[in-house]
Each structure stands twice: as C-alpha cells, then as structure tokens.
C-alpha cells in the first residue's frame, strides 16, 4: 500500500515538474515588462500591480523594470524571444512596426466588453490600426506654452490668443532684451513639438495625420505655409541662442532666470521649473494660439500604453489586467502618483493648477496628436526632426531640407 502511495506521489511530482518545465503556468502567473524606471512611474506601477493582485487574488504578478531609454531597444528583442504577458509602449504610429510584424495582440474584445470606446474616447483613434485596437492607454500629459506671468505683466503683454498677438508679444520681449522662446534642441524631439503645433494650427489635425502617415509630400504648398509662419519666429531670432547645444532642461536656466519668457513644453517641465525656484504666480500656462482662423484646435498629448505581446503565455489574465487598468478609479490613483492626466474621462479631475488647465484643454480638444516622433514612423521622424533642427539654425536652408525630407518620405512609406 505504502509503495503505491509513494509511487503515485512520484508520478505527480514528475508530472508537475514536467508542466513547470514546459512553461505552463499552473497558477495565474503574469509577467509584465515595463520601462517605468523613474521613481514616480515606478511607484504608480507598483500601486497598480498591488491593486490588481488584491482584486484578483488568484493571479501573481511579476514586474521586470527596464531603464526607460534602454527599453526602446530591448522591446524589439523580448517581443520575439521570451515575451512577457504585458509590455509598455506608446500609441499612434509607434505601434505600427510591432502590429505589422504580428507581435502585438488584438484587444478589440476588451475595448468592446468594457465600453472603452466611450470612456477612453479621446485616445481611441491613436490606439487603432486597421480598425482594430492594440492596447490600453492609461496616462497622458498636456503640451502647451509655459510663460513668465511676471515678465508679461511687467511689459504689459496680455496672454496671446492669436498668431498676430504672439508675434507682437515676441517683438516686445525682444525689444526689452528678453528672448521670446526658450528651447533646447540637442535631443531633436523638441523641434517635433514645434512642427506639430504649427502644422495643426495652420493646416488642421486631419492634414497633420495625413502628413505623418506619408500621404502628403513634404514639398507641398501647405507644408511650405507652415514654414512661412515658422520663419516669423526663426528669422528674427526669437528662439534661445545656440539651442542646439542644450538638452531641453539645459535651456531651463534661461527661462528660470528670466532671460527667456516662453517655453513650449510638456507638463513634466513644471516640476524642475518649480525646483529651480519658480513660483506659481510667476508661471503661467496657455494653449498654443490660433493661427488659421476658425480651425478647431487639436493638441499633442503623448500617451503611454500597455499591450499584450502576441507570444504571451497568459493572455487570459493579461486581458483581465488591461480591463482593470482601464477603470476610472484605477487611472485616477495611478495618475495621482504620476502627476499626469488619466485617459478615462470618468476619472477624477486633478487638483494641481497646471494639470487642471491641461485636463480642461485636452477634454475639449478637437483631437489628440501623439507627437511627431510617435505619429511618424521612426526613420521618417528622425530625418524630420533633424531637418527641423537644421531649419531652426539655418532658415535659409528650407528648400534643401524639405526636398531631402521628401526623398526620405518616398523611401520610408513604400
């Protein structure tokens, strides 16, 4: 009798060992790869995971944290070999290489089941490729013009609402030895923000999306119109001198010291500005002014997302995780820690002055761009932003730059 018992035990042990060895999850095991390496994102993710495990005690979550920059290269490897069950990435065209290579899982069913097409409406378009949904957005942040309220007050400049107001304000600032716009273009993505806003304000959201998806040549007259407007800022030197030597935060000292009065940036800039000593009554936030009269205003709101790799092992629990993450109260909590905005429109509005302004602006926005380097495919984005930087340093090179960008477009969007 005892012999048989031992024999059975051994059989069970062997079977379990085989199952474990073959990679089958016996209990609900979820592996998440994330690039939330900074303190705030990391804390937000920890809270998210803890909350999920409490609501779903049968699932155990393991989080692998990668360095934020290194992640952008690692993801290409782990999506093909050793795929986790969930992975961070970005919305818009940035998803396209992975979607087209069949490396992301279609999650339209989760969107349908949880009614996310309504609650996540503002980001729905940027999560869609070929009519299907490929991930869940959980946070975004606003872009806009931060400006020195105190300098404006001293020089009696009102908050510019139109392009002409803006140009007049720049002239006044320059006449008083204040550089109108701070910017650091050493990492060229900051130029993408400028091009996005100028294009969306001159030609509108639909045109901008057509351009970034390769349907419009860069030598088109409407693109030239954008640069005509940009000339009004670059030719009179309204940008910070030598901006190509600075990372965006190395341009902060000029803004903080009052040598520059405006900064087109994302909301993450507020914390270092405050740390350097700027007070809230000195720091104002305004929407980028209107250029073409009557054109509805779209905004850039880069969105962070979570996806299921096509090679994931535990897709069932992964979908439960996505559904959990889309809930309004979960997004409120995460974004409270992140200091950013929840995508779910039923989430609680943030208290912070600048976030509140951003929330209002984005909830009323006509549409949301994902930022040039996420809306345009990677190679086009790099050539584009390099070109914009060259233009900002040498506006006279415009014709050659646009022709080269057009060459790149024809090759990239085959």
């Amino acid at each position: 009798m005892k012999q048989k018992h031992k024999h059975n035990l051994r059989k069970i042990a062997l079977l379990s060992a085989l199952l474990v060895a073959s990679g089958w999850a016996i209990s609900g095991d979820l592996v998440i790869n994330t690039d939330a390496s900074d303190p705030a994102p990391k804390a937000a993710f920890d809270a998210l995971v803890k909350g999920f495990e409490k609501a779903n005690p049968d699932v155990h979550v393991k989080v692998n944290t990668f360095d934020h920059e290194g992640y952008k290269t690692s993801i290409r490897n782990f999506l093909t070999a050793e795929a986790p069950d969930l992975a961070n990435w970005y919305a818009g065209n940035r998803m396209a290489p992975f979607v087209n290579a069949g490396l992301f899982e279609d999650v339209s069913d989760v969107w349908a089941k949880e009614g996310l097409n309504e609650s996540l409406k503002s980001a729905a378009a940027s999560m869609t490729i070929n009519g299907k949904k490929w991930g869940i957005p959980y946070t975004y942040y606003q872009w806009g013009v931060y400006y020195r309220k105190d300098i404006f007050a001293k020089l009696k400049i009102a908050e510019p609402k139109t392009w002409d107001d803006l140009i007049k304000a720049c002239a006044t600032l320059k006449a008083n030895k204040v550089t109108p716009f701070a910017i650091g273009t050493k990492a060229t993505w900051t130029t993408g923000g400028w091009f996005d806003y100028l294009d969306m304000r001159v030609n509108g959201y639909e045109f901008h999306m057509d351009l970034t998806s390769g349907k419009v040549p860069y030598t088109d007259a409407r693109v030239q119109a954008v640069f005509d407007k940009w000339d009004q800022l670059t030719k009179p030197n309204y940008y910070l001198a030598n901006h190509a030597s600075y990372q965006w935060q190395e341009a902060l000292p000029a803004f903080v010291k009052g040598d520059a009065a405006m900064y087109l940036m994302g909301n993450f800039a507020v914390a270092p500005m405050k740390e350097a000593g700027l007070k809230e009554d000195q720091l104002g936030f305004m929407q980028f002014p209107e250029i073409t009269k009557g054109l509805p205003k779209a905004e850039d709101a880069p969105t962070d997302t979570l996806h299921i790799p096509a090679k994931a092992k535990n897709k069932v629990d992964a979908k439960r995780f996505l559904a959990y993450m889309a809930k309004p109260e979960v997004q409120t909590e995460m974004n409270g820690i992140l200091g950013q905005l929840p995508v779910n429109k039923n989430a609680t509005r943030p208290e912070d002055t600048y976030l509140k302004a951003g929330f209002n602006m984005l909830s009323n926005a006509y549409a949301l761009g994902q930022f040039y380097d996420r809306d345009a495919p990677a190679e086009m984005a790099k050539a584009g932003m390099d070109g914009f930087q060259q233009y900002m340093l040498k506006p006279a090179d415009r014709k050659a730059i646009l022709e080269r960008l057009e060459q790149v477009r024809q090759r990239v969007y085959k």
Partner: protein, 283 residues
C-alpha cells in the same frame, strides 16, 4: 637622459618647472575636478545654470547616499564586477594556452593563426554588432551577464594571445629543452615551466583587461538591456531621470564607478604600464 636633467639647468628654469608642473596638472585634471564638483551639488544649482561656481548647497553626503539608495548604482557596480572578473580570468586562461601553443611550437599554420588574432583584435566593433547580438539571442544569453562576459572573453583573447605569445617567445628555450630531456610531457612543461615564468605578463594583462572591460560602454549597451544585468558604464546614463537630467547624481555615480579601475591603477601601476608599453622598447 633627455631632456637635460633638471638639476643641471639654471635655477630659474628649475623654479619655473617646479611651479609650472602643479599648475599644468591642475589644468590637465580640470575635467575630473569638474565631475567631483558636480557630484556635490544640489539639483537646484543645475536648473539655475551654476555649473562651475562653488555649490550654493553642499550635498556631499546626500548625493552619495542618494545615488546608492534611490538609483540602481550598487547593482550596476556589482554587475560590472560580475562581468569583468570572469572575463579577466577566462581571457587570460585562453591566452596563456594559445600563447604557449603559438610561441613554443613551430607548425605550418602558426603565423597565420597568430595574424588572425592580431588582425581580429583591430576590427571595428560595428561589423560584429548585429551577428553577435543575434548569436546571444539564439543562445539565450542576450541581456545576461554571462552573454556579455563570453563575448568579452572571446574578443580579448585576440590581444591577450598576441601579448602572451610574444612574451613566451622571449623565454629562454633552454629551460623548455631541459624539461623535455628530463622526460616531462608537453602539458607538464606548460604547467611547471612556462606558467610560473609568465606571471609578470599575466599581472600586466589582467590589470589592463580589467580596465578595458570595466570601462566598456558599447557592448554593455548593445548586449544588455535590463537593469538586472547592466554594468555601470551603460547604467550611468540611466541615472538621469526620464524627463529631467540629474547630473549631480550621474557625477556622483561616475566617481564611484571610476574607483575600481583607479584603485587598481594606483596599486598596480608598474604592471599596468608594463602591459600598455610591452613591445614599446623592442629594438
């Protein structure tokens, strides 16, 4: 000796030299002093553009503890050790054997294999980048310390074999012949005769290889992605925040990260220099 020994020059020249040298040293070491200064600043200084003045806020203890407490630096340094030390041991072991084979024996392909090691050592890393990454992926060694160490062992074998082979060739042949006459097998000759004699070369090489591997940046970023395996060179950049650079932390981290090779350099200077300058004095 050349130039004229100092005590044979005019007193004025001597004084000029004695004063000029420390000054020159100060200018020469300015970049390193700059890193030290930045490592004791607060973040506010950097947002305000105060890079070169005295820190408005001395934060020596805060920065150096913060860099261990709130960044993965300690793990990065451990990873660097875990990659560097096996590489030194592995590369030297392989190189001693290969150097023995190439230095003691005459056979037809001897010179060709030797040239393979020498030439291969000089190839640009970029020609290896994509295939080595793919090889590591296929072996399941991508993003692992073992994968990075294996590559380094293989690559360093080129230079180390060249070094050991030249050194072994200079050894007195009589010792080897005498051992043969006494009936020692070739393997015994390796262990009992050659290895003890190449100790100075091994010391020089290990110091050099340690420094090269510890300071390697390119392969650390190509073959390693996750923080669990990232050595300190690739990890330093990640000490910068996602949006905001934290140069004071990066500087503190750089100082800490530079300590092991610096310590080795000062303790084993003679070996270090011998390794670098080997062959520089052959006529």
């Amino acid at each position: 000796m050349f130039p004229t020994p100092l005590h044979q020059t005019r007193p004025a020249t001597q004084w000029l030299f004695r004063i000029g040298l420390p000054l020159a040293l100060l200018v020469w070491l300015l970049p390193i002093i700059a890193v030290l200064m930045t490592s004791v600043r607060g973040a506010a200084d950097l947002s305000n553009g105060n890079y070169w003045g005295l820190p408005s806020d001395w934060r020596i203890l805060e920065n150096y503890t913060a860099v261990f407490r709130s960044t993965p630096l300690a793990g990065f340094i451990l990873n660097s050790f875990l990659v560097t030390i096996p590489t030194v041991i592995g590369a030297l072991a392989l190189a001693c054997m290969a150097g023995f084979a190439l230095g003691v024996y005459r056979f037809r392909l001897n010179l060709l294999v030797f040239f393979l090691f020498v030439g291969g050592n000089f190839v640009p890393f970029q020609i290896l980048m994509v295939p080595v990454r793919d090889l590591s992926l296929r072996l399941g060694l991508y993003d692992s310390i073992a994968g990075l160490a294996l590559f380094h062992i293989a690559f360093q074998t080129g230079f180390c074999t060249f070094f050991m082979r030249n050194f072994i060739r200079e050894l007195p042949r009589e010792l080897i012949e005498a051992a043969r006459v006494e009936g020692a097998s070739e393997i015994q000759i390796f262990y009992k005769v050659v290895l003890p004699l190449v100790r100075p070369a091994v010391a020089a090489l290990s110091v050099l290889v340690f420094t090269f591997i510890w300071n390697d940046y390119f392969w650390a970023t190509v073959l390693i992605q996750g923080n669990h395996a990232m050595p300190v060179t690739g990890g330093l950049k990640s000490l910068n925040g996602m949006w905001v650079a934290q140069w004071h932390l990066v500087s503190a981290g750089s100082i800490v990260a530079a300590l092991p090779p610096v310590a080795i350099f000062f303790l084993m200077q003679k070996h270090f220099i011998a390794g670098l300058t080997f062959g520089a004095t052959k006529g």
